[in-house]
């Protein structure tokens, strides 16, 4: 009896190889097809559930937003993630009065319990959605869990947990933010700054001023940007009191940078003296502040700074001159013509040209 191996041995080697490759291609194609079908099935289920949630809950939540209180049906387990998504999306789109109404609606369907269930889940997307929801609900019972999540290895989880903590426990969240910023000066503060803008301004200002007082001068640069989210008057007052006493250059430069956003025209005089500071990046920041807050009083000092040995300082001084609201373009052009220093003249012409283009 001829066995299969005997038949195979009759087939030439090249043909055996071709058959093997052919079978491999068929197997790979079938696997890819199966995966694609699975994905398609998953996607269409996702779309179906998403549409169903929208159809049931969106009109009802709109009614809640308008001040009505229609009955909200308890969601089935498969609709829960989609409801969390919809509720959060609407929450982000409206102001505080309407947010209050959405929180009321959330109480009716026990959205906090739903979010809690997803907090320990494995899916990152759902975990984050749960954290955001609990933060929006300002649920005090989650403070301990949020504090733990603030130390998560996953940066997204950590950031969202800090933000979520700002609602129910703002002081704890601020403490965490400022500790983190001081410990990790290389981390960008933009996210934290954005979150701090969501906190009650007085609470943030009081807490920040307290922390600034406790922080050594060489580390202040990390905390100063948060003055932008605090009460402007308090922030500017703090900078006015301290700018002339600081020795640390990083702190000084950062302080001037913040003053550009929170300062007033009366700060011009304090800033003018920093145009002659020995460190170039302090001079750069001083020129930039004068571009925002300066008056005619800054004109001569900035023209003089056009002769600075550092290219960046000259450029920033020229931009500041072009920005001075009290000085016309014509006057600046006339002054540029009288400058003997070729570099100074070029820097000013270039800044004026840029302003015209803008």
């Amino acid at each position: 009896m001829t066995t299969i191996s005997q038949i195979i041995s009759l087939i030439p080697a090249y043909l055996r190889f071709a058959i093997f490759i052919g079978m491999l291609i068929v197997a790979v194609s079938l696997t890819v097809l199966l995966i694609a079908l699975q994905l398609q099935k998953k996607r269409s289920r996702h779309q179906k559930l998403h549409k169903k949630t929208i159809k049931i809950y969106r009109p009802l939540l709109f009614q809640w937003l308008s001040g009505e209180t229609p009955e909200l049906p308890k969601p089935t387990a498969d609709l829960e993630p989609y409801l969390l998504e919809l509720w959060n999306d609407l929450y982000e789109k409206v102001e505080e009065t309407e947010r209050l109404r959405l929180r009321e609606a959330a109480k009716k369907i026990k959205l906090n319990e739903i979010a809690h269930r997803y907090l320990d889940g494995k899916k990152l997307e759902l975990k984050i959605l749960a954290i955001i929801t609990l933060g929006a609900l300002k649920d005090k019972s989650t403070v301990k869990e949020m504090l733990e999540l603030c130390n998560s290895d996953r940066p997204l989880v950590r950031l969202q947990a800090i933000r979520a903590l700002l609602g129910p426990a703002p002081k704890k969240a601020l403490k965490y933010i400022f500790d983190d910023v001081l410990k990790n000066p290389e981390r960008p503060v933009n996210y934290y700054l954005k979150y701090c803008r969501e906190v009650d301004r007085k609470l943030l200002t009081d807490y920040l001023l307290k922390r600034l007082k406790q922080t050594p001068e060489e580390k202040l640069a990390q905390l100063l940007p948060f003055l932008e989210a605090a009460d402007n008057t308090a922030g500017a007052d703090y900078l006015r009191q301290h700018l002339q006493t600081w020795q640390n250059e990083e702190t000084l430069a950062r302080g001037l940078r913040v003053l550009r956003r929170v300062g007033r025209p009366q700060d011009e005089e304090i800033v003018l003296e920093f145009l002659s500071h020995p460190t170039y990046f302090v001079r750069i920041q001083a020129a930039r502040v004068l571009g925002e807050l300066g008056s005619r009083q800054s004109l001569d000092a900035l023209l003089e700074t056009l002769g600075d040995g550092d290219w960046w300082v000259r450029t920033r001084a020229a931009e500041a001159l072009a920005n001075l609201p009290a000085v016309s373009m014509e006057e600046l052009e006339n002054r540029a013509e009288t400058l003997n220093d070729k570099f100074a003249r070029d820097a000013l012409y270039k800044a004026l040209e840029l302003k015209v283009k803008k």
Binding site: R58, D89, L90, K93, V94, E98
Partner: protein, 125 residues
């Protein structure tokens, strides 16, 4: 007769929310989710009483729709309110230069939104 508002907003939930608000205030809404469809509508239809435009839209943005409105003889004078993010200072400056009349900021305050829209509709009626 109901007042007609042209609404162009690409975010589904936001568009539906604004539609809901406008309809609750007895307004008829013609809504689009992209700039190109809105421009085509403007070119071939009689004007609405007010246009509510998001700044960033697919295909043609709010500025381009605004330019189209100002080019059209019949739509030229209808009040235009832009929908913007809260930090869109420069964009709003540009929109005002192009002829926008007002703006509402996201996240929206529903009562203020309706009050602003009504202000223009009363002025124009």
């Amino acid at each position: 007769m109901e007042t007609t508002v042209l609404l162009v907003e690409d975010d589904n939930n936001m568009r539906m929310l604004l539609e809901h608000l406008l309809k609750r205030n007895d307004m008829q809404v013609i809504s689009f989710e992209d700039g190109q469809s809105a421009v085509e509508y403007i070119q071939t239809n009689p004007p609405a009483e007010l246009a509510l435009l998001d700044l960033y839209l697919p295909f043609k943005n709010g500025f381009e729709i605004l330019k189209e409105l100002k080019k059209s003889e019949s739509w030229e004078n209808i009040p235009t309110v832009m929908i913007t993010a809260s930090d869109a200072g420069d964009d709003m400056e540009k929109a005002f230069r192009l002829g926008a009349d007002d703006y509402i900021e996201k996240p929206i305050d529903t009562r203020k939104t309706i009050a602003r829209i009504n202000k223009f509709l009363k002025t124009n009626s």
